[in-house]
């Protein structure tokens, strides 16, 4: 089963004036992998963490990576990626809350089917940069037909920016003029390879201030081929064949 973004994926949530954002209700299928990407503004030092929770039966959430002033050595935005595996299909909402950060907050939840739910993610890379376009640090995927996810924030955003990501990314962006621009996206990497994406800002001016996280999501292992039938040939049968 190939990795795919499921139709139950909810819409991005943009909270211009809050340190938390809450998705609309959605019902992911059992066994789906939820990837939550979050972006926004640091506080004076943080955010120190971004906590993700869900309504209904609590899922086990793991922060894959967080790029912020502390982890990348500077910058005023943050970007993060979080994951959880859905046990039983049920309606839920997802909330991401910054601790130590400040508004705005934007989240995008991706419902991913066909993922390896035992080892969902491989290598993750975080980084910071001040140019546009900005090429992310290379991440070398190790799986076959993996999904490469990115979450990025451009904090300087003095104008009404729009943006794109290159290298075949399906990109979902957001922006608030005078505040932040950011986005998240994904692409398929068919074979293990060194992979990057170019984050571009259109309409901004002055020095850029990017924070980003990229991560590999593994596809579920292909089902093992059924065993081939085994025939036992006896010495007696060989002797019989040889004398015919």
């Amino acid at each position: 089963m190939a990795l795919a973004i499921d139709a139950t994926t909810p819409a991005r949530v943009n909270a211009s004036a809050a340190v938390s954002a809450v998705s609309g209700s959605f019902t992911p299928p059992a066994g789906a992998l939820l990837i939550v990407t979050a972006q926004g503004t640091n506080g004076s030092t943080g955010p120190t963490s971004v906590a993700v929770t869900n309504s209904g039966t609590a899922l086990t959430w793991t922060q894959v990576q967080l790029a912020n002033k502390t982890t990348t050595g500077g910058g005023d935005g943050f970007a993060s990626i979080h994951r959880a595996v859905v046990g039983t299909s049920a309606a839920m909402t997802v909330t991401a809350t910054q601790t130590g950060g400040s508004a705005p907050t934007s989240i995008k939840v991706y419902v991913v089917t066909g993922a390896n739910t035992t080892t969902p993610v491989g290598t993750a890379v975080i980084g910071r940069g001040t140019t546009t376009p900005l090429t992310t640090t290379a991440l070398t995927t190790t799986g076959t037909n993996s999904l490469f996810f990115a979450s990025a924030d451009e904090w300087s955003a003095p104008a009404a920016e729009t943006g794109t990501a290159g290298s075949g990314m399906t990109w979902d962006s957001w922006g608030i003029s005078g505040s932040n621009y950011g986005g998240s996206g994904y692409k398929t990497v068919a074979a293990p390879a060194s992979t990057t994406t170019a984050l571009s800002s259109v309409g901004g001016s002055g020095t850029m201030d990017w924070q980003y996280v990229v991560v590999e999501v593994f596809a579920a292992a292909a089902a093992a081929a059924p065993p081939r039938p085994v025939r036992t040939i006896t010495q007696q049968a060989l002797t019989r064949a040889a004398t015919r």
Binding site: D6, N14, S16, A17, V22, G24, S156, P158, I176, S177
Partner: protein, 102 residues
């Protein structure tokens, strides 16, 4: 515009579904008085989202603006219509989180 300056008109938010069909809200307002002029909601045919939600969707006070059905033009909400649901200035809008739902 400098970093930290208040947003200028229009404020546009785009919400893509899983096949990159989108519903969009464009809010126009007076840059001086901040008073809302109108909100225009448009939608790509086939987009799985049909409503713009202002505020946390599960809250009873959440405000919902319907998007047009397939083949229809954008839905325009006047300043008077927005005022009736408590939205008079762009700051009223940006104080709420914004998303879309089916």
């Amino acid at each position: 515009m400098a970093k930290g300056d208040p947003p200028t008109s229009p404020v546009v938010e785009v919400f893509d579904d899983y096949v990159q069909l989108a519903v969009t809200i464009a809010v126009t307002f007076d840059n001086t008085t901040r008073a809302l002029a109108q909100a225009v909601v448009s939608r790509d045919d086939g987009c799985q989202y049909h409503t713009i939600v202002l505020d946390v969707p599960s809250r009873p006070q959440a405000k919902r603006l319907a998007a047009p059905v397939d083949g229809a033009g954008p839905n325009t909400y006047t300043a008077a219509q927005l005022s009736k649901v408590g939205l008079s200035t762009i700051e009223d809008v940006l104080a709420l989180q914004i998303t879309a739902e089916p």
